[in-house]
């Protein structure tokens, strides 16, 4: 592996210092205890909401520390495992050149016995290029399975292919995920364990440098595929992520095939496999490279789909009540799925200062500096922990997008509670240009509310300490919203005046800095 690769794949090598993890838990609990029991309560409704939010934060932090506590895998690996494999490339209208690259890479994999199949869903998805996929299959000598009967989206496509293939093992790639030559060699050996259900590898985005959206999409992934999945591996709770994975046909059949009634089909199928006693393993090596959503709308839709799917797991298939799961697995599914409830907590935290600005009501009544004394070490240690565990791959923009996604998470929550239908939308592989500000209206409204609220509060009580502290809290939230709003805004290339243009030398220097 080259130095360049070492840097690209640094997210896989984060370390979790146990004393730091313990300290983070202690500080979180201390902070919670202090604000709950030692501060004077203000408005009871606001206080209850604040505490509910803090309980959620505590759950997430302790859950995170528990997950990343250690990296260990007891899975047995047989390097010369050679049973036959069906490789599935799921396709639904992606550009033909992207599919071709993936197909060629799949054919080039080093393994004794495998068949590459393109699962062409373009016909049922009414995509124009579905017949081009068939032609591509002919050109490359690949079996193309074109579905005629719609239903079940990607899961339906896979289930359809399962009926037409026979190998005991299946490997799935999205159309844009180009496997390395060594993929099968590195993955299939884990199936020497007859109870191995599936093997997951990281979903790496090689277009992360294209723009802000791709970069953030990857930054968020890096935390998940770095420390979190490695931790889940230790706890036997890895879940499938839809691509770059290998499955046992027997295990999949036992779970009833890929789950077609949830838009996060991979998540739920993993749960079904685990509750039937199948094992899973995560291989912390990048063995395929894919594409991140390149525009704000695609990112938004992808996040919405993941949120909706995960929340459905909580409300319809709550892991706590699934009998076959171990306690560790129950906890891990619950921690992962409940992450998407954070939208409601973000809303509560964001609204508390706004409510103060307009009404003067507060959740707690205390010296703002005492709050600072317990809050500051807690937040700095939490963020430092995030950095060390992700091996310094995580970014503020990733945090910003996570916080700013509160509204889509709330929308997804409402959709789940009201049982609204959501169609499976494939993440676009090409950037869609446009103005997506309509997707960030709540965030813009928040900024307006902050300004108006500040004026109202100033009229009411002058430049008091409480007013300043609450404005500062609101500004923190505004700072988190700004990158999200900027990403949603239309990109206008204003001609720059001559003095602002970069010289060739400066451009070269910037390029070198970026590369290095």
């Amino acid at each position: 592996m080259t130095n360049h690769d070492n840097k690209r794949f640094a997210f896989l090598h984060g370390t979790a210092s146990k004393p730091l993890l313990a300290l983070n838990c202690v500080l979180s609990v201390l902070y919670f205890i202090v604000i709950t029991f030692f501060f004077q309560h203000g408005n009871i409704v606001l206080f209850s909401l604040l505490i509910a939010g803090e309980v959620f934060h505590l759950w997430q932090i302790i859950g995170y520390c528990y997950t990343v506590w250690e990296k260990r895998s007891d899975a047995v690996f047989a390097p010369y495992f050679s049973k036959s494999v069906d490789v599935f490339i799921t396709v639904a209208g992606e550009p033909i050149e992207i599919i071709e690259e993936t197909a060629r890479a799949a054919l080039a994999m080093d393994y004794p016995k495998f068949t590459v199949n393109i699962l062409n869903d373009g016909f049922v998805a009414k995509k124009d290029n579905w017949h081009e996929v068939v032609e591509l299959g002919d050109k490359l000598g690949i079996n193309v399975i074109t579905r005629q009967v719609p239903g079940g989206a990607k899961a339906g496509n896979i289930n359809n292919a399962l009926k037409q293939t026979k190998s005991p093992y299946i490997v799935i790639f999205d159309a844009d995920h180009v496997p390395y030559v060594s993929f099968l060699r590195e993955v299939m050996g884990y199936f020497i364990d007859p109870k191995m259900g599936f093997v997951q590898t990281p979903q790496y985005y090689n277009n992360q440098g294209v723009n802000r959206v791709t970069q953030v999409a990857w930054d968020q992934q890096s935390l998940f595929f770095g420390p979190i999945m490695s931790g889940k591996n230790r706890l036997g709770s890895v879940f499938m992520c839809g691509t770059n994975m290998a499955l046992s046909r027997e295990a999949l059949s036992d779970a009833g095939g890929m789950c077609e009634f949830n838009i996060a089909e991979d998540f739920l199928t993993s749960l079904f496999m685990h509750e039937r006693g199948w094992k899973s393993v995560y291989v912390p090596k990048v063995l395929a490279e894919g594409l991140a959503p390149e525009d704000f709308l695609s990112y938004y839709k992808q996040q919405y789909r993941w949120t909706r799917g995960s929340l459905e797991v909580i409300f319809k298939f709550n892991p706590l009540f699934r009998r076959g799961l171990t306690f560790k697995q129950k906890m891990q599914y619950l921690i992962s799925a409940s992450y998407y409830l954070s939208g409601s907590v973000v809303l509560i935290d964001a609204l508390l200062p706004i409510i103060f600005l307009f009404t003067g009501a507060t959740a707690i009544t205390t010296s703002t500096m005492t709050l600072a004394l317990v809050f500051t070490p807690y937040i700095f240690v939490s963020l430092y922990l995030l950095q060390t565990t992700s091996n310094y791959a995580y970014t503020f923009q990733a945090i910003s997008f996570s916080i700013s996604s509160f509204f889509l998470q709330i929308r997804a929550l409402i959709a789940v509670l009201l049982n609204q239908k959501t169609s499976f939308a494939i993440t676009s592989k090409q950037a869609i240009q446009g103005n997506f500000l309509y997707l960030v209206v709540p965030q813009i409204a928040y900024i307006v509310l902050t300004i108006v609220g500040a004026a109202v509060a100033y009229q009411r009580e002058g430049l008091s300490a409480s007013l300043l502290a609450n404005i500062a809290w609101a500004l923190v939230t505004v700072c988190c919203f700004v990158p999200f709003i900027y990403a949603a805004s239309p990109k206008i290339n204003f001609p720059r005046p001559a003095f602002m243009r970069r010289t060739k030398k400066a451009s070269h220097r910037a390029a070198v800095e970026h590369t290095s």
């Binding site: 840097k7 640094a10 930054d219 010296s367 703002t368 500096m369 005492t370 600072a372 004394l373 500051t376 937040i379 700095f380 963020l383 430092y384 995030l386 950095q387 310094y392 791959a393 995580y394 970014t395 503020f396 990733a398 945090i399 910003s400 430049l463 300490a465 409480s466 300043l468 502290a469 404005i471 500062a472 809290w473 500004l475 923190v476 700072c479 988190c480």
Partner: protein, 555 residues
Amino acid sequence: MNWFRKKISPKVRANRQAARTQANAKKVAAHKANESLKQQFINAQAELKADRSTLAQRIYIGLGLLFCMAGAVAISHFLLINNSLRLDESQSIWQVSHSFTGMLEVVAQDVHMPLYHIILQQWIFFFGDSTTAVRSLSMIFFLLTIPMVYLLSRQILSRRWALAVTALFSFSPFMNWYANEARMYTLLVLFATINQYFFARILKYNKGWWGYAISAIFGAYSHYFFMFNLLAQATYYLINHKSFVKGAFKRFVAVMVAMLIAISPWITYFVMQGLASNTRPLIERPTAVNFFNVYSQFLFGFQTDAVNTAIVSLWPLILIVAFFTVKRHLKLEKTVGYLLAMSFVPIVAAFALSFVVTPFFLSRYMVSAIAPLTIAIAWLISRYRRNFAVFLMVAWFGIVGATFAQQVNSFDTPVKENYSVAAKDIESHASIHDVIVISSPFTVYPFEYYYNGPLQIRTLPLWDRQNVGAVPAFNEAALPQQVDQLKQGHDYIYLLLSYDQGYEKKIQQYFDMRYEKTRSEKYSDGLMLYVYRVGYDTMPEILPTVQNYQAQQSP
């Protein structure tokens, strides 16, 4: 021997062998790690050699440092040096006015290390005890610190950034205040910065042990709170001992032992003097507000209550700083971690000990944290894109400039003690039948420094200064008797109140309830004058004023 061998089962033997192998493997691993660390140090030294400044760069750096020093001198000359002497400064002057042994005695009683006073005594011998002369010594220590801050910054920053940080430090409102005060704080900062620099060199290159040891000894003799500097380093060492080569621990212990031996004569003498005197001002137990005030003062200087409240109330904005630390590849280098330890451990430790031992939490005692704090913040900014980083630095300079201006110009800046104006004012208004009463008693020193009139200066509680050391405690029951004693034969009492020791209000109320208040004046924050009519023997308007009296006395 055979009977013994037979008793050891093969399993036990195998376990022992495994334990031996494991221990050997650990030793080998530790040796390898140590060798790798040594290689890292060699590489770092080679990098340092390769990065030596060219002549042009040296001139550029030299000019930059000269600009910083000149700036500090200009600030002092135009804005600060002529401020009224503060209580602590007057005490310094009073203490060094004794014989050498007498000075050591009063310094020990005042709970201070003697190095500054020894130097000050010699300084006054050559340059006199005018305000400008005594304060210049602190300014010299400050000017010597400036290049040290540059060298410390260079451990983690480029030349330009190091110069920018040095400029920020040079124009720091907090540092400039103490650079113009006849106290030991800039001496403390000088040795603390030298010590921090050598520790950083040990950490980075495994070099600088002698410099570290010598600066530790001198630092310990400059102020008791230098120990917090060493405590922070010890904490850092305990957490990151793997960053140091084998044998570093022994050397650190040797340095500490040498330092303790060096200061032991003074500590013995201090203990023999009875540990502490009653002359210490009352320091209250710190609160969370005090904790954050320390950082607010380090960064923005001394501000009025209103401005300070505004600054510290905006603390949630720290969260934005916290978010900015989450950046790709923004790894906390070991030297940065060390500077962070130097910025926070002393303050946290002093805060905690103020609860456990006795309250002593004052920002000036922790002044050695300013340079590391400034450098660490600048390091974070320097990791961002150039334009953004430059914007942040310019904003920082702007804020520092604005808060400095506010500190200098505001009448209510809390550290200002306008005893000179108070003395001149009383001198011009009081008659020879009046008496000046000062409380707290030890504030008599700065007042006396400026007061040239003939009136009696008394204190409340009554204090006979011929009895060394002890300021009598306030006794409410004895107050009427003491006031009666004071007013005896006088028409007006000029009651000058400052440095509230917990009884100021009681004294004021006592006078308010019994005597006619004819005047009140505020000279600076916490320095109040109240004039009470206590006698009616003579008509005040026909009495000669002090000026008239002096005019009559003069030929």
